[in-house]
Symmetry: C2
Subunit: 333 residues, 2 copies
């Protein structure tokens, strides 16, 4: 069997090559049967590789980069030789099996949708990520910002796609699905969640739990939570912001004075254990579900370790033939 | 000047009289010029008071209680002698200046709206709370679940009411307002936030910052964040759930084994300091803004300390004549 080939958008994200190159070098050692195509400015990539050579790395030169704040539609139209576009083209042309990018989310989605096309009735890709939970299993949540105005049918699609993902990629035999709402009672919520709940409940491919509330996200009540992208994006960012604030405050309080600094020396191993358990790097990588191809979006601020986790996700998705599975699940329903 | 009178719904919340009675007894000592009317079952209240007597406490007997999961409309129609209804009637009849209740939010709002009526053009009360922020000043957020389908005009009303609240109650001279969205860029978001942003920006009574994202909530970017109640409720509950999970994990990790338990002894003072800074009890009490009367909603799970904070909020609102200020602000705009 030929090696898996992963196209890496080497130019994007806040740290660009500084996080991409070490992540790929590590991945080479972790995955002997995977090759990497670094897409970006050849000179810059060679400089960043700093004489590191491997048969498993090749470079695909391109002349443009899409900035993080660039308008997605304009970028798609005008930057035909951007690292995102060229990397996605490689998948389209069967020269790569998946793309990993820390780039502009809107541009990545628009270009992926335009070049790779959507599966069946799916209109736009859905952004799905894993959020940490109390017992460390994590909950899959979608959509996280790709679809800000959803229909009930889209929420049903999200539930189906994520169910397929959890069964195959996470090996959860019968993943449970919840619809995010302001209360658990059946009569609660707006028209969207009311209708989506009916549709999802009526679908026998889905193990439907019912409505879940904001505080249930982290309690592992369900394996999958579906919501419209406006809510999902805000909840995700609020959670990231709150966790950061709390951990920062703990650190700052320990550093406040000499007495606390001495306490910190002793307490640190425990706090490190906690930080490790909820290490956001480990959760890096959102799958763009519903595409006829595999695209993994890494966090814009991803460091090398986090980017490596996103690469890992892409490899598993290739091994498990994610688009095929999603297609089958949606097709039969 | 006559004493301020606060009507206390003594029968509601998860802990009922067990949290209400100690909270009121403490408040008597804190506020010598405030009297309290305990509304509920006289026999149960007398038992809970356990021979404690004060001229500043009176009891208003009523025969019914609305359960936390009861349908608000049915409860309003059928339970005319419920503790919530009787307490709100006291405000209507000028026998009390404010109500504090840990009861069924929907019922409290429906009854308050029906009995006390709304100010001017306001359609339904807005639930506003303070969320903790990095520099401890806190951010006011509304709506938190009273209005799940909002119009742009309602978001403008929220911004005006909260501005008035912050100026008078919090003594912030020129409070800044943000609209919660999935991005800071002007073109981002759904129709509601787009139109609301225009309206708020055009209103010269409001110090408008622009869009804020989920992670900005805890960074103190603005003093006030407005959003529709569906999003607000989910974000609030998700934040509470995440903070709880993190603090629990820290505690559990410290208790895991003897080595960590010894570390805990040393680290505890610091962790207590952090817990104290973000103590959710201190943030208990949501004002129902837009009513022609003062109603403070305490968290259903409030303990005595938390309920006492909600009482404090009600007293300040009475002292500062909150409904009058809100009326003036909305009336002129």
């Amino acid at each position: 069997m030929a090696n898996i080939k992963i196209a890496i958008d080497a130019m994007s994200g806040d740290h660009g090559l500084n996080s991409v190159i070490p992540a790929v070098i590590e991945a080479i050692q972790q995955f002997p049967k995977v090759d990497f195509i670094l897409v970006g400015d050849q000179t810059q990539i060679l400089t960043a590789l700093n004489n590191f050579k491997s048969k498993k790395i090749s470079i695909k030169h391109c002349s443009e980069t899409i900035a993080m704040d660039e308008d997605p539609v304009v970028a798609m139209r005008n930057k035909k030789d951007s690292s995102i576009r060229v990397a996605i083209n490689l998948v389209k042309e069967n020269q790569a099996d998946a793309v990993v990018s820390s780039g502009n989310t809107g541009a990545l989605m628009a270009i992926a949708r335009f070049v790779l096309k959507m599966i069946g009735e799916v209109k736009r890709p859905a952004l799905m990520s894993t959020l940490p939970t109390k017992n460390k299993r994590g909950v899959k949540m979608l959509d996280l910002g790709a679809n800000i105005n959803c229909t009930p049918e889209q929420l049903l699609q999200f539930a189906l796609m994520a169910t397929a993902f959890c069964k195959v990629i996470e090996q959860i035999p019968n993943p449970s699905v919840g619809v995010l709402n302001i209360g658990e009672e059946k009569n609660k919520g707006n028209e969207l969640v009311q209708k989506a709940s009916e549709l999802i409940n009526a679908n026998n491919k889905i193990n439907y739990y019912g409505f879940v509330e904001g505080n249930h996200i982290f309690q592992e009540k369900v394996d999958i939570i579906v919501c419209n992208g406006f809510v999902g994006n805000i909840v995700l960012k609020a959670s990231e912001g709150l966790a950061k604030m709390l951990m920062q405050t703990i650190k700052e309080t320990f550093m406040q004075n000499l007495k606390n600094k001495l306490r910190a020396l002793i307490a640190m191993p425990v706090l490190k254990e906690v930080s490790k358990a909820y290490d956001p790097d480990k959760y890096n990588g959102s799958c763009l579900l519903g595409l006829k191809g595999i695209v993994v979006k890494s966090h814009g601020s991803a460091n090398a370790k986090a980017f490596n986790y996103a690469i890992k996700q892409a490899i598993i998705a290739v091994q498990q033939k994610l688009p095929e599975i999603v297609d089958n699940t949606l097709g039969e329903s």
